[in-house]
């Protein structure tokens, strides 16, 4: 089945995009955890 967006057929670039996105996701989740923990410990 086709997609409605352009297909990126460069595997290396695809991998880089996914790694970048994962990294940013982890950073966001890290901030979430860090703030809850810091508040709990009243840093």
């Amino acid at each position: 089945m086709g997609t409605q967006s352009k297909v990126i057929d460069d595997n290396k670039l695809q991998r880089k995009i996914r790694m970048n996105a994962l990294l940013l996701g982890f950073v966001a989740f890290g901030f979430f955890i860090a703030f809850v923990v810091a508040t709990a410990l009243k840093v």
Binding site: M1, G2, T3, Q4, S5, K6, V7, I8, D9, D10, L13, K16, I17, N20, A21, L24, G25, V27, A28, F29, G30, F31, F32, I33, F35, V36, T39, A40, K42
Partner: protein
């Protein structure tokens, strides 16, 4: 990079949507479709949030209780803010980002198209969930959008639903931000350096980083509220050793950068429009980028200026006062550079330019009142008065919202392939500008005279200014129906737009036909900065 856009002729999906009807919009992964979804959603939310504003202003038309009880009034205040911030203005700029960033940087699409679809489709569910709290026992949260404990913990059954809605809105924003950063960093045409990127793209790149840094902080804050309510923790409950003021610090650590999350894309749009109608390059392109980055950095170290009155050490007050005032410097750079761009330009005053110039004047009024309240001593008088309401509405309505409207008029011919009705556009501009000032300017006076915010009733001496404000707000709300009609008329068909639309504007987006083909760039285009001569 030229290999990034696949030759997908074999799939035959380069000619248009795979699905038709509702399925096209539900399953779309095309950045233009998703951009349109965001923009239409945002327009609907403008009227949902606007209706709540009308209830507020109808109640405040004269002193005494007219239409609603005080608790419902406060629910309206809360939902109006949440809907306008998370449902209207942020999705509006996300819509512009989806439409324009790939076109401006020569990318085939957003880097993560399915994530893009999900980012959008979380929004309607989140907003419906939020609105549904009105019908739950106890009603919607009545604490204002700041959700301060202990007041917010007195919300009825709606409390966890409202918190879940805020979480969904946050997740949607974070995913959109990730997508935007990854797209700009990986799919930009190789011939365009970072510093050559259009200011709108820069504005969004910085905004996306801000979103990733602060949305999780809001999520953390509201999660702790939830735990205080249901899991017997005492993060913010004084009775258990917690500290309610701590929530205020957490909220505003998110809340102040949030202001710039809203305004930086607006700055970006204005920076595209003013050069186009001045027929000159933007004055100080690099300085504008550094100014936005400085504003973003400073936004992290000013949060406590929202809470001078909670009681903090003198050193704290001094620090937050001075760091807040520092923001005036990069903001001033931007305002002066926009003015310098117009200086000796060959100006013309089509609707987008009119809205951009109004932005320049009226946003600056909001900025100046911001400077007034940055000063800790007088802030004790302004705090929690209508002066604050006037300030942030000047920044958000003739500021951010006017920029969004300007962007809509600017790019509508590119999106639809038709020119909008210029005469109606100009009428819309003048009605909006007159009514927005009639609505919010008098609020400065009642605020300085001591009228508190978030109250359904007030002392009789504030009656005249409140009546003016209410009349202005109804006029402003009604004038936005004209915007809907202009858009409808333009989409239905009118004079054909050329690829350039305007008088030789600069940027890759103007090199593709109007309307933009379903897939704009098969191969990475070559970006050549224009030589303006002189």
């Amino acid at each position: 990079m030229s290999a990034t856009a696949a030759d997908i002729h074999d799939n035959h999906d380069d000619h248009g949507p795979v699905h038709t009807g509702i399925k096209r919009w539900l399953f779309t992964t095309n950045h233009k479709d998703i951009g349109t979804l965001y923009l239409v959603f945002s327009l609907i939310m403008l009227f949902v949030g606007g209706l709540m504003a009308m209830i507020i202003r109808a109640e405040l038309f004269q002193p005494g209780l007219q239409f609603v009880n005080p608790n419902f009034f406060n629910q309206m205040v809360t939902l109006h803010a949440l809907v306008m911030v998370f449902g209207m203005i942020m999705p509006a700029f996300a819509g512009f980002a989806n439409w324009m960033i790939p076109l401006m940087i020569g990318a085939p699409d957003m880097a993560l198209p399915r994530l893009n679809n999900w980012s959008f489709w979380l929004l309607p569910f989140a907003v419906v969930l939020l609105a549904s709290t009105l019908f739950m026992p106890g009603g919607a949260p009545a604490s204002g959008w700041t959700l301060y404990p202990p007041l917010v913990l007195q919300t009825g059954d709606a409390f966890p639903f409202a918190i879940f809605a805020v979480h969904l809105l946050g997740i949607s924003s974070i995913m959109a931000a990730i997508n935007i950063i990854v797209t700009i960093m990986n799919l930009r045409t190789p011939s365009m350096s970072l510093m050559q990127m259009p200011l709108f793209v820069w504005g969004w790149l910085i905004t996306a980083y801000l979103l990733i840094a602060v949305m999780p902080v809001l999520a953390g804050g509201v999660t702790m509220l939830l735990m205080d309510q249901f899991f017997a923790t005492s993060f913010f409950q004084a009775a258990g050793g917690g500290d309610p003021v701590l929530f205020q610090h957490i909220f505003w650590f998110f809340g102040h950068p949030e202001v710039y999350i809203i305004i930086l894309p607006a700055f970006g749009i204005i920076s595209q429009i003013i050069p186009a109608f001045s027929r000159k390059p933007l004055f100080g392109h690099s300085a504008m980028i550094y100014a936005m980055a400085s504003i973003a950095f400073l936004s992290f170290i000013v949060w406590a200026h929202h809470m001078f009155t909670v009681g903090m050490p003198l050193a704290g007050q001094m620090f937050f006062m001075l760091s807040t005032m520092l923001i005036a410097i990069p903001t001033g750079v931007k305002v002066f550079n926009w003015t310098a761009t117009m200086w000796q330009g060959s100006l013309s005053f089509e609707t987008p330019m009119l809205f951009a110039i109004a932005f320049l004047f009226l946003f600056t009024i909001g900025g100046f009142s911001g400077l007034m309240m940055a000063m800790a001593p007088p802030d004790f008088q302004y705090h929690d008065t209508y002066f604050i309401v006037a300030h942030f509405h000047y920044v958000l309505v003739p500021g951010a919202m006017f920029a969004a409207i300007a962007g809509c008029y600017f790019w509508l011919p590119k999106w639809t392939g038709h020119m909008y009705d210029e005469r109606l556009g100009q009428i819309h501009f003048w009605l909006s500008t007159i009514f927005v000032n009639l609505t919010f300017f008098p609020q400065h006076f009642v605020g300085l005279a001591g009228m508190p915010r978030r109250i359904p009733d007030y002392a009789v001496q504030f009656t005249n200014f409140n009546a003016m404000s209410s009349i202005g707000s109804f006029g402003f709300g009604l004038s936005q129906l004209l915007l809907v009609y202009v858009i409808y008329k333009c989409v239905k068909g009118a004079r054909k737009a050329t690829a350039e639309v305007w008088d030789s504007p600069e940027g890759l987006e103007w090199t593709v036909p109007s309307p933009v083909p379903y897939h704009a760039f098969d191969k990475a285009p070559t970006y050549t900065p224009r030589n303006w001569g002189g």
